[in-house]
């Protein structure tokens, strides 16, 4: 079994971090994992994307043109990558700033207004964690417990941010599952 998740958005939206947290969670759960960044000549404010491959055996090709799932944090990313997602995958959409859908009937589209949710929690910067939580709750690429553990691990050196991010995780999960 192998699943691939592509995260894409503007530089500054925390796209690379989302991928790293997911990769950490999958590694903690005992999976083989690779995190592959885009490192082309992009500049601040340009597009940023990364791919996480999670597998129960050593990962072969790190080059993934058709990921199983997509987390689109802005409109250009959705428009660029929506068509590449494998049928049946989850397409997560940052509904706060993306007014359109994936335009596909064969994927599981999940729209969450992550920025409003994060603002209500007190810090819009937590929007990426809301998104990651909603995506994981829907796709179940790792368990929610592993995700929570990895978020705490990632913020271990900035411990005062942990309560906010735990709240963000919970809010994201609720947005995706309705309870």
């Amino acid at each position: 079994m192998q699943s691939e998740v592509q995260f894409a958005g503007f530089g500054g939206q925390g796209v690379m971090l989302m991928g790293q947290i997911l990769a950490q969670a999958a590694m903690n759960a005992g999976f083989e994992v690779v995190w592959i960044p885009s490192y082309g000549p992009e500049m601040r404010g340009g597009t940023a994307y990364c791919t996480v491959v999670i597998s129960d055996r050593p990962v072969g090709s790190p080059i993934i043109r058709n990921p199983q799932h997509l987390v689109a944090m802005n409109r250009p990313s959705l428009e660029k990558f929506a068509s590449t997602v494998k049928p049946g995958g989850v397409v997560f959409i940052n509904a706060s700033i993306i007014p359109v859908g994936a335009g596909r009937s064969d994927v599981d589209e999940l729209r969450v207004p992550i920025m409003e949710i994060a603002k209500d929690l007190g810090n819009v910067k937590a929007a990426n964690i809301v998104a990651l939580a909603a995506f994981v709750a829907r796709s179940r690429v790792v368990s929610f417990e592993e995700l929570t553990g990895a978020v705490k691990q990632k913020f271990a050196e900035k411990a005062k941010l942990i309560p906010l991010n735990v709240k963000a995780l919970e809010a994201g999960r609720k947005a995706a599952t309705g309870n």
Binding site: Q20, V33, P62
Partner: protein, 357 residues
């Protein structure tokens, strides 16, 4: 310490420290600048020296100087930077100084691009600088292997008193994978009192050591080259490393591929297997010395109709594959440049075409 998730470039920096190397001189260049970033913070913490040179040319001579004084030392760069270092590398091989050079390749020629490439095969394996010299060249296919090869490189460089080159590509440097730093790969620097200019007060000797590369007497220079050749011959006897994949069955084609490209080829072989088609692979882990015999033996199997070298270059390693196969079977090449890493689908299409022809 258990497994940690690390970027290849940072893992390489940490591996060097774990291997007992506390001297790193470098000049930044994408896609490997994170090694310098990481070590600029880490080396002072462990009492090491991080120094940014004014250019790659300067760095190569800083490496030469430190090594001649008996220190464990290494640098990292990417393709254009390695070109600039090549003069120094030639001198270091001539002077028989151990050192480790790591090339996280990007696309060329010229400034080229910053994305992954394997176009420096010739430069590393056949000699980027002048004169008759060889580097021991290792090619990692994962972040874990980059760690292990880095840790192994230092004692190997000292065993041969010759630079070791680790040839990775942009993906090896940029991607994150779980890694561990095996304790058994830690090593003590060798005793260099017999040759290094490490100070006569420190080695309790009255013999003067001289590190040099100038031999104006033809017989002397010839003798010096024969001495170097004997070391390269010993590398061929003792250091060839490779891995095979799916060579047990009756494979119809043999893929030869290294580094990141070999991972793509592993997926290619798995996908073919799912369709009932067997393809085998030999993955060289050392590019010099090259696993000629292993490739010859794999190509010689009756079921194998041809070999194909798959590389992110316009066809460099394929020449060594041809030499290995010795005309026994046809040898083909497939590759792409510019950072556009061939996908499994693209390689499969090429292999299918060859099988149909």
């Amino acid at each position: 310490m258990g497994k940690v998730l690390m970027k290849g470039n940072e893992a390489i920096g940490e591996a060097a420290i774990r291997a007992g190397c506390l001297n790193y001189f470098a000049y930044p260049i994408t896609p490997q600048s994170e090694v310098a970033e990481y070590l600029s913070k880490r080396l002072p913490e462990v009492g090491g020296v991080f120094l940014q040179g004014e250019s790659e040319v300067a760095v190569s001579y800083m490496i030469f100087g430190a090594s001649a004084c008996g220190a464990r030392v290494f640098t990292t760069s990417s393709s254009p930077g390695i070109s600039l270092m090549s003069e120094g590398i030639s001198y270091i091989t001539a002077a028989q100084c151990p050192a480790v050079f790591i090339n996280i390749m990007r696309g060329g020629p010229g400034l080229g691009g910053i994305l992954p490439s394997q176009a420096d095969y010739f430069q590393s394996v056949k000699g980027g600088g002048h004169g008759d010299y060889r580097l021991l060249v290792m090619a990692p296919a994962s972040v874990q292997e980059a760690v292990e090869m880095t840790m192994t490189a230092f004692p190997l460089a000292e065993k041969y008193r010759n630079p070791v080159m680790i040839l990775g590509d942009g993906l090896i440097g940029q991607m994150m994978e779980p890694v561990e730093f095996p304790d058994h790969l830690k090593s003590e620097p060798s005793n260099k009192d017999g040759w290094a200019t490490n100070g006569m007060d420190t080695r309790r000797s009255s013999t003067r050591n001289l590190v040099r590369t100038l031999y104006l007497v033809p017989e002397e220079l010839n003798a010096h080259n024969l001495k170097l050749k004997a070391k390269y011959d010993r590398m061929i006897r003792e250091e060839i490393r490779w891995e095979t994949y799916n060579l047990d069955g009756d494979y119809r084609m043999l893929i030869v591929s290294y580094g990141t490209m070999s991972r793509v080829c592993r997926t290619v072989i798995d996908n073919f297997k799912a369709k009932g088609i067997e393809i085998g692979m030999v993955r060289p882990k050392t590019l010099f010395p090259f696993p000629k015999q292993a490739i010859y033996d794999a190509a010689a199997k009756a079921s194998c109709r041809a070999a194909i070298s798959v590389e992110m270059s316009m066809g460099q390693m394929v020449e060594d594959v041809e030499l290995s196969v010795k005309g026994l079977k046809p040898v083909h090449w497939y590759g792409k440049c510019g950072g556009d890493v061939p996908t499994p689908e693209e390689v499969m299409e090429e292999v299918s075409k060859l099988m149909a022809s």
